[in-house]
C-alpha cells in the first residue's frame, strides 16, 4: 500500500512549511561513473573478478562460435531465402498472392489507425535514444571483430558500427529536455529497413571472401516481388497512422475506438475468407440454408431478449427462459439440423442470463447487440467449417507454413480463452454437478498427451460425425487445440479466482449483487488480472505446440524447415540453417508476446497498491 506515500504527498500540498522546503530540490542520488560502476558491480572482490573474467571469456567464445557457424562459407542461407514463400504459405498459388498482401495491408492499416487513436507511443528522451544507438553500434563493432569476415567486409561493417555508435554518442550528450516520439523512431527504423531492400544486395554474400553463392534471384538484388509489396506496406502503414490522427480529432473518439475494436475482432474472419475463397466460390448453400437460419435466430432472439431484459418482467421471464432451455434439449430428440439445436441452446443461455444484465433502454439494447454479434460470429465459424476452400493448390490443404501456424494459434486462443474461463468458473461453482463435470474434463484432458488428442481428432472424430456434417481436418485439429488449451487456461484462471479475497465477495454481496453480477463485474476482472502471467506462459506454449501439427500431416512452419526444404535437390543438407531461421522467428514472436504482456500487466495494475 502506498497510503503513507499518499498522505505525505497530501501534506506536502496543504502544509505551507512543507511546500517551502519542497521548492528546494532534494539532493539526487549520487551517479556512479562507468569505472566506479565496474568496480562496484563486477570487480568488487577477488572471487567476483575471477567470475567476471571467466564468464566474459565464455560469452565471447560462444558468440565467436555462433558467428563462425552463421558466416561459414559452407552454410546454404540461400536455402532459407529462396524458400521464404514456401516457409510462409506453403503451396498457396503464386498468382493469388495479391490476396495475402491485401490482407497484410489491411492489418497494417488497422494497426496504424489504432496506434493513432489510442495515442500509442510515448516521448523518449533523445539522450536515451543515444545510449541505445551507442550500445547497438558497439555491438556491431564487436560482432564484426569476432566474425570471420573478409577484410573488405570487416572495414565496411566497422565503419557502419562506428557511425551508429558515434551518432549515439552525439545524441547522448544532447540537452536533457529534448525528446522525440517513439512512433517516429519506429517508423524511421521501418523506413530504413525497407529502403535498404532497394540498396543493399541482401543474399549476395559479399562479406565472405571465398564463396560463390547459389542464388536463384538476380544476383546481388532482392527480388521485385519482395521489395515492391513491402514498400507499399510501408506507405500504407505510415499513411494510415497520419489518417488516424487526422480522423481522431474530427469524430467522437469513444465511438471511433469502439468501431476499431469491432473491426479488429471481425477482421480475422473476414481476412480468412479473403485468403480462402475464390471470387467464383459457390455461395448457394450459404444463402439458401445457413444465412436464413441465423437471420431467423437473430431476429426472434432479439425480440425475446429485449423483452426478457425488462427489469419489471419478474417471474414470467424465468418461466420463459426455462422453457427455451427445455426446447433446446428437446431438439435432440428429433431429426433436424445441428445448427438449429446449438442455436436454441445458445439462446436459452442468453435468456437465462438476461435478468442479470437487464436495465434501462441502453443496457437492453447493448445486450441484444451482444446476441446479434454472437450470431454473426457463430454464422461465420459454421460456414468456415462447412465449406471447403476454393483456392486451388496441390495437396490437401490450401495453405501451410507460417500462415497455418498463425491461423491455428489465433483461433485456438480466441476460442479457448472463454471456454477456459467458463471451465474455471464451473470448477469453483457451488453446484456439485458443474464442479464434477468441469473437474473431470480438466483432469482428463491434462492427463492425455496433446499428440493423442490431435490424432484422435484428425482420425477418429470424422468417423463419428452424424450424416451430412462435414468437418475439415484443419477445423478438427483446431478444436483439439482449443479443448487442450482450455483445460490448462482454466487452471490458470482458477488460480486467479482463488486470489480474490473473501472481502471482495462479501462487499459485492452486501450491495445486493446476484451471483452472476458479482462474478462478472467484481471477481473475474480481478482474477484475470492476477492470471495474466501464467496465461501468457500458456499462450506462448500454445504457439510453440503448433509444431506438433506435422505429426498429423499438416505442413506447418517447422515441418517445412525441417523436412521439406532439405529434401530439395539443390539445398540438400540445409536443415541447420532453416532450423536456425525458424527458431529466430519463434524467438522474436514469443519474446514480443512476453513483452506485450508485461505492458498489459502494468496497465491493468493501475491503481492497485
Amino acid at each position: 500500500m502506498n497510503l503513507k506515500n499518499f498522505t505525505s504527498q497530501k501534506q506536502l500540498k496543504t502544509d505551507p512549511l512543507a511546500e517551502a522546503s519542497n521548492s528546494e530540490l532534494p539532493p539526487k542520488a549520487p551517479v556512479l561513473s562507468p569505472a566506479e560502476w565496474l568496480k562496484a558491480n563486477l570487480f568488487s572482490n577477488t572471487f567476483n573478478s575471477v567470475l567476471t573474467i571467466l564468464s566474459t571469456a565464455a560469452i565471447l567464445l560462444i558468440i565467436r562460435g555462433l558467428l563462425s557457424f552463421i558466416f561459414n562459407p559452407l552454410r546454404q542461407w540461400s536455402a532459407t531465402a529462396t524458400n521464404m514463400r514456401l516457409l510462409m504459405t506453403q503451396a498457396y498459388p503464386e498468382h493469388q498472392y495479391a490476396r495475402i498482401w491485401v490482407s497484410l495491408g489491411f492489418l497494417l492499416f488497422l494497426t496504424g489507425v489504432s496506434l493513432a487513436f489510442w495515442r500509442a507511443g510515448r516521448s523518449v528522451l533523445l539522450s536515451q535514444v543515444g545510449k541505445r544507438l551507442l550500445a547497438i553500434g558497439s555491438f556491431i563493432v564487436l560482432v564484426t571483430l569476432l566474425a570471420p569476415f573478409s577484410s573488405e567486409a570487416t572495414i565496411i561493417w566497422l565503419i557502419v558500427g562506428v557511425f551508429i555508435a558515434g551518432t549515439g554518442f552525439l545524441l547522448k550528450s544532447s540537452r536533457e529536455d529534448k525528446t522525440t516520439s517513439s512512433m517516429t523512431l519506429l517508423s524511421g527504423a521501418f523506413l530504413l529497413a525497407i529502403l535498404s531492400l532497394w540498396v543493399i544486395p541482401y543474399g549476395h554474400h559479399s562479406y565472405i571472401s571465398t564463396r560463390t553463392p547459389k542464388i536463384l534471384a538476380e544476383p546481388g538484388t532482392v527480388a521485385m516481388t519482395t521489395k515492391l509489396p513491402w514498400t507499399i506496406m510501408l506507405v500504407v502503414a505510415i499513411c494510415s497512422y497520419f489518417l488516424g490522427s487526422l480522423i481522431r480529432d474530427k469524430i467522437d473518439e469513444a465511438k471511433g475506438k469502439a468501431l476499431l475494436s469491432t473491426t479488429w475482432l471481425i477482421s480475422p474472419l473476414f481476412l480468412l475468407f479473403l485468403v480462402l475463397r475464390d471470387p467464383d466460390f459457390d455461395t448457394g448453400h450459404l444463402f439458401s440454408t445457413d444465412i436464413p437460419i441465423f437471420l431467423f435466430f437473430s431476429i426472434v432472439g432479439s425480440v425475446i431478449l429485449l423483452w426478457l431484459t425488462n427489469p419489471d418482467i419478474g417471474e414470467k421471464g424465468r418461466v420463459i427462459s426455462t422453457a427455451i432451455l427445455f426446447v433446446g434439449f428437446a431438439t435432440f430428440l428429433f431429426q433436424m439440423l445441428m445448427i438449429v439445436r446449438i442455436l436454441t441452446l445458445v439462446l436459452a443461455f442468453f435468456a437465462l442470463a438476461a435478468p442479470t444484465f437487464s436495465g434501462q433502454k441502453p443496457a437492453r439494447i447493448r445486450y441484444t447487440k451482444v446476441w446479434i454479434g454472437t450470431m454473426v460470429i457463430l454464422c461465420w465459424l459454421i460456414t468456415a467449417i462447412n465449406t471447403p476452400s476454393t483456392a486451388k493448390v496441390p495437396g490437401d490443404f490450401f495453405i501451410g507454413g507460417f500462415a497455418i501456424t498463425l491461423m491455428i494459434f489465433f483461433f485456438t486462443m480466441v476460442l479457448a480463452f472463454p471456454l477456459g474461463v467458463l471451465l474455471a468458473l464451473a470448477r469453483t461453482s457451488k453446484f456439485p454437478i458443474f464442479r464434477m463435470v468441469s473437474t473431470t474434463f480438466i483432469e482428463f484432458i491434462r492427463g492425455v498427451p496433446l499428440i493423442t488428442i490431435l490424432i484422435f481428432f484428425s482420425v477418429m472424430v470424422p468417423l463419428f460425425l452424424p450424416d451430412g456434417m462435414d468437418l475439415t481436418e484443419i477445423a478438427a485439429v483446431t478444436i483439439a487445440f482449443i479443448i487442450f488449451e482450455a483445460a490448462y487456461l482454466a487452471e490458470n484462471v482458477r488460480g486467479g479466482l482463488q486470489s480474490v479475497t473473501r472481502g471482495q465477495h462479501e462487499a459485492a454481496e452486501a450491495v445486493g449483487m446476484t451471483n452472476a453480477q458479482k462474478t462478472f463485474f467484481i471477481v473475474l476482472p480481478q482474477a484475470l488480472r492476477v492470471a495474466i502471467p501464467p496465461m501468457v506462459g500458456q499462450i506462448i506454449a500454445t504457439f510453440k505446440e503448433t509444431g506438433l501439427l506435422a505429426i498429423i500431416g499438416i505442413f506447418d512452419f517447422l515441418y517445412i524447415a525441417r523436412s521439406v526444404i532439405p529434401g530439395q535437390t539443390e539445398f540438400m543438407g540445409s536443415t541447420r540453417e532453416n532450423l536456425l531461421f525458424v527458431s529466430l522467428v519463434y524467438l522474436v514472436i514469443c519474446f514480443s508476446m512476453s513483452k506485450a504482456s508485461q505492458r498489459v500487466e502494468k496497465r491493468v495494475g493501475l491503481g492497485e497498491r
Binding site: F6, A363, T501, T514, Q517, P525, G607
Partner: protein, 261 residues
C-alpha cells in the same frame, strides 16, 4: 467533537417511541463448528434508531451484525429485516441486501474500479438506474462524504480514511433503509478516525437507522440511542448511553468499562 447539546436535541426530535420495528431478532444462535458464536440473541431495532454494539473481542458482535444481511447464516431463531424474514430463499436475501448497506472494517472497495464506478456500479446493475443518473448520484454522495475531487482515482490511491468514506458512499448509493457498520474505524490510523466518525454522525443526524459495532466510546456516548453490550455470544445489557456509561447494572459491563475507560 461536535456540541453534545445540539446532537441530543436533534436526536430528541425523533419520535422513537412510535417508530416501527425494522430489525427483529428472536433467539438467534449460530455455531462455528463446536464453538457457539451467538447464543439466543434477541433484540429489536426501531426505524431511525442508532444502536451501538459494544463488547470485548470474540463476543460475537461482528457475527451478529453479519447475520443481519446474511453474510453469515444463523442456525436457530428468526431474523426479520423490514418485514422480510431471512431464510435460504435467494430472492429474500437479495431483497434484504439491497435495503441494508454495510461498511466493513477492511473497506473492501473494488480495487479495479475508480471511486466513481465503485459507488455507481450497484445502482446501475442492481437498482437498474440509468448510468448518467447513477453517476450524478455518485458525485453528490462523494460530495456528502467530503471527497468529491477523488472520483476518478482508484481506491489504492486513497488514504484509509478516504477509502472508508468511499465505502460509506457506496453503501448509501443503494439508498438503504438500514446501515450496518462492522468496526469501521478499527483499521484506520488515529488521525483518520475522526473524518470517518464525522460522516457517520452526519448520517445519524439525517435519520438513518444504524447499527454500529465499534470501540469508539466517544461516538457511542454522543450519537447512540441505545447501547447493546455483548459477551460470549449473548446480549448482556441494553440501555441508553447515560445509563450504560454512568450506572450499568450488570457486573460484566462494569468490568468491561473499567478495563477500557
Amino acid at each position: 467533537m461536535t456540541d453534545n447539546e445540539t446532537t441530543s436535541s436533534i436526536r430528541g426530535e425523533r419520535d422513537l417511541a412510535n417508530a416501527q420495528d425494522i430489525i427483529v431478532c428472536e433467539g438467534v444462535s449460530k455455531w462455528f463448528g463446536d464453538f457457539q458464536a451467538l447464543n439466543n440473541v434477541s433484540a429489536t431495532i426501531k426505524e431511525q434508531e442508532v444502536v451501538v454494539v459494544l463488547g470485548p473481542s470474540g463476543s460475537g458482535k461482528s457475527t451478529w451484525i453479519r447475520c443481519i444481511n446474511r453474510l453469515e447464516q444463523h442456525q436457530e431463531g428468526r431474523i426479520m429485516v423490514d418485514g422480510v424474514e431471512l431464510s435460504n430463499d435467494l430472492r429474500n436475501i437479495e431483497k434484504v441486501r439491497s435495503e441494508v448497506g454495510m461498511v466493513f472494517q477492511m473497506f473492501n472497495l473494488f480495487p479495479h474500479l475508480t471511486v466513481r464506478d465503485n459507488v455507481s456500479l450497484a445502482p446501475i446493475w442492481v437498482r437498474k438506474k440509468p448510468r448518467a443518473e447513477a453517476e450524478e448520484q455518485a458525485a453528490s454522495l462523494l460530495e456528502r462524504v467530503g471527497i468529491p475531487e477523488q472520483a476518478d482515482k482508484f481506491p489504492g490511491q486513497l488514504s484509509g480514511g478516504q477509502q472508508q468514506r468511499v465505502a460509506i458512499a457506496r453503501a448509501l448509493a443503494m439508498e438503504p433503509k438500514i446501515m450496518l457498520f462492522d468496526e469501521p474505524t478499527s483499521a484506520l490510523d488515529p488521525e483518520m478516525i475522526k473524518e470517518v466518525l464525522d460522516v457517520m454522525k452526519e448520517l445519524a443526524l439525517s435519520g438513518m437507522t444504524m447499527m454500529v459495532v465499534t470501540h469508539e466510546m466517544g461516538f457511542a456516548k454522543e450519537v447512540a440511542d441505545k447501547i447493546m453490550f455483548m459477551e460470549g455470544g449473548q446480549i448482556v445489557e441494553i440501555g441508553t448511553p447515560d445509563h450504560f456509561f454512568t450506572n450499568p447494572t450488570e457486573e460484566r459491563t462494569k468490568l468491561f468499562l473499567s478495563q477500557i475507560l
